[in-house]
Symmetry: C2
Subunit: 165 residues, 2 copies
DNA sequence: TATTGTTATACTCTATAACTATA
DNA sequence: TATAGTTATAGAGTATAACAATA
């Protein structure tokens, strides 16, 4: 692309395309993951919801929306889909009848279990070219970048579109 | 999320979330880049087109579509936008009047130049928490993963949506 | 009056297929 | 007949705002 005028490898030159590579490989990881979980009948967005609901059963839709940083109407649509497929159940709260308490069904928990298997296979294949040490180091470096940029541990930025594509 | 039953750190446990981290940080890189280039009046998709056109002036729209792995009609829409903003020009080919030859205008080249500055700032900020060594190593590891997964050097997977989100 | 969830609506992005003009 | 580009159209995904029930 940009023809590099000097053939010397210096720090700035060799670190120039890292952000692009990160975005490119990250996009690949996302799309391959999407392919895999589609076999389970869920989208990555669904997976994100399932995970939050699994960790905080009884959560309200508003709470879920806040946790993910999306609008309430989107949560309605996504939970509708999960409920239709029998993975999540909504029950009116006894204490505040405005709330829907969200919980995984047995089928929902099965999907979560299957997802862990799928996720492990995904990671194994995606990073097959790396040594164990490289995988570990990659994880540590990425965690550092994620933390420095205030990413929440389990929220994927794909949830809130900041700008256009 | 998954409560780890053993407190020991073994290879499998610590490398389990790397694919997610990759997708998460990659998504962040993509969205922050989108924010930055929007100041230049272009989207990441626009940038992808501009780069290919810059490296192969005179390319046809069909050639561009093939290079990016997208349909011809999408190229029409994107080139329309770039032409309206005066960044790209279409000229009918002399030898085969079906073809449109694509070239950057002076304004287009200015945007490319500005983009390199923006890209460098983007990378600097995104990876500010890393040492020089870590940045270099990250780049090498990512390049290895990209190559093993047959990613084309300059094509972002965001161009061809493989499955749903 | 404020809040939860819902619906209605509009807008963007993308893909597919029909069409035209050249070959 | 085949190919390059275009247009038309439809389908996702997402966001905003209006609305109903409950507090």
């Amino acid at each position: 692309m940009e023809p590099d005028p000097s053939s010397n490898v210096d720090v700035r030159a060799s670190s120039r395309r890292v952000a692009f590579l990160l975005s490119q490989v990250g996009g690949l990881a996302a799309s391959k993951f999407a392919e895999r979980v589609s076999d389970l009948g869920v989208t990555p967005s669904d997976v994100g919801l399932l995970r939050v609901i699994a960790t905080t059963p009884g959560l309200s839709q508003r709470g879920l929306a806040d946790a993910l940083g999306v609008g309430p109407s989107r949560v309605v649509a996504l939970v509708d889909g999960l409920e239709d497929r029998g993975l999540v159940e909504r029950t009116r709260s006894e204490t505040d009848r405005r709330n829907h308490e969200l919980r995984l069904t047995d089928a929902g928990r099965s999907v979560m279990t299957a997802m862990r298997t799928v996720g492990a296979a995904h990671e194994r294949d995606l990073l097959a070219a790396l040594t164990d040490e490289e995988r570990i180091f990659l994880g540590e470096i990425l965690a550092k970048v994620a933390e420095a940029n205030q990413l929440l541990p389990d929220v994927h930025p794909g949830f809130h579109r900041t700008t256009k594509r």
